[in-house]
C-alpha cells in the first residue's frame, strides 16, 4: 500500500476552480485539493464557472465532462488557451482521446486516486 505524504503541500498557493454539477462531488473534490494545500472554489455549471474565471482567473480548472449541454467542452474552448483545464470523466463515452483532442490539458477517469489528482493538478499548475 503506497502512502503519499509528499503530496500534502503539493498545491500550496495554487488556486483551483472545480466545475461539477453534483454538489457532493464538488465537496469531495474540494476536500482532496484543499488537503493538498490548494485554495479551491467551485461552480455547479459551466456558465457560473466561466463567470467566476473571468472575474478571478485561477491556476487550474477541473471540469466534469458530463456537465449538461457539453458544458465542459464549451468551457475548454473559451478559456483553455489561458488556463490548464483537467477533464474528469467516467469510464464511458468521454475517453482521453476525445477530451485531449478537444483541448483539455489532462484527463482523469473516475474513480480517481486522490493523490494522483493532486499530482496531476500540481503538474498542470507548474506548466501554467
Amino acid at each position: 500500500m503506497a502512502r503519499e505524504p509528499d503530496v500534502l503541500k503539493a498545491l500550496v498557493g495554487v488556486h483551483v476552480l472545480i466545475v461539477d454539477g453534483d454538489a457532493a462531488a464538488r465537496a469531495l473534490l474540494e476536500s482532496v485539493l484543499a488537503y493538498c494545500g490548494a485554495f479551491v472554489t467551485s461552480s455547479a455549471t459551466a456558465r457560473d464557472g466561466l463567470a467566476y474565471f473571468h472575474r478571478k482567473p485561477t491556476d487550474v480548472v477541473l471540469a466534469d465532462v458530463t456537465l449538461p449541454d457539453a458544458g465542459a467542452y464549451q468551457l475548454v474552448r473559451e478559456i483553455g488557451a489561458r488556463v490548464p483545464v483537467l477533464a474528469l470523466a467516467t469510464g464511458e463515452g468521454d475517453g482521453p482521446d476525445r477530451t485531449l483532442a478537444a483541448g483539455f490539458h489532462g484527463h482523469l477517469r473516475k474513480p480517481v486516486d486522490p493523490w494522483e489528482l493532486c499530482r496531476v493538478v500540481a503538474g498542470l499548475a507548474r506548466k501554467a
Binding site: 500500500m1 502512502r3 503519499e4 509528499d6 503530496v7 469531495l28 473534490l29 476536500s31 474513480p111
Partner: protein, 134 residues
C-alpha cells in the same frame, strides 16, 4: 504523549480514509481520531453513501461499523470486493465492532482487520498504519 510513548500526529498523512457508521457521534469520533493522525477523511452514514463516494474517489482504507454486520457491513464489503482493482476493489478494509465472535466473520467476508470498541485512539492509528504499510 500517548501511553505507549510519543506517537506521530502525522502517522496517517497522505492516507484517504472513508468512514462508514450510521451513528453520528461515533462517526465523528472515528473521523476525529483519523484526522488527528493526519488522514484525509470522508465520513458517511450508510454503505450505499460510501459506494457513491467510491464512484468518484478511491480511498486507501475503508473503516466500517460492524456492530450489526447484517445491517449492511457484509453486503458492503461484498460489493467492494466485486469491484475491479482499478475501481477500488482491493482497498484496505477495517471492521469496528464490540463482539470478538464477529472477528472471524469479518475476516472471512473480506475485511482485513477487526478492531474492538472501545477504541484506543493511538492503538487505532497504529493498527491502521501497520495495515497500510504491509
Amino acid at each position: 504523549m500517548g501511553r505507549d510513548g510519543i506517537y506521530s500526529m502525522e502517522s496517517l498523512n497522505g492516507i484517504y480514509a472513508l468512514v462508514v457508521d450510521e451513528e453520528k457521534d461515533r462517526r465523528a469520533l472515528i473521523s476525529g481520531i483519523l484526522r488527528y493522525c493526519g488522514a484525509l477523511v470522508t465520513p458517511v452514514e450508510t454503505p450505499s453513501a460510501a459506494l457513491l463516494v467510491m464512484e468518484l474517489l478511491k480511498p486507501d482504507i475503508v473503516i466500517v461499523d460492524f456492530t450489526r454486520p447484517e445491517d449492511g457491513a457484509i453486503e458492503f464489503i461484498r460489493r467492494v470486493r466485486a469491484l475491479k482493482p482499478e475501481d477500488g476493489g482491493m482497498v484496505a478494509a477495517v471492521a469496528i465492532g464490540d463482539d470478538h465472535e464477529h472477528m472471524a466473520l469479518a475476516r472471512s467476508r473480506g475485511y482485513d482487520a477487526y478492531v474492538t470498541k472501545p477504541l484506543d485512539p493511538w492503538e487505532f492509528c497504529r493498527v491502521l498504519t501497520r495495515l497500510l504499510t504491509i
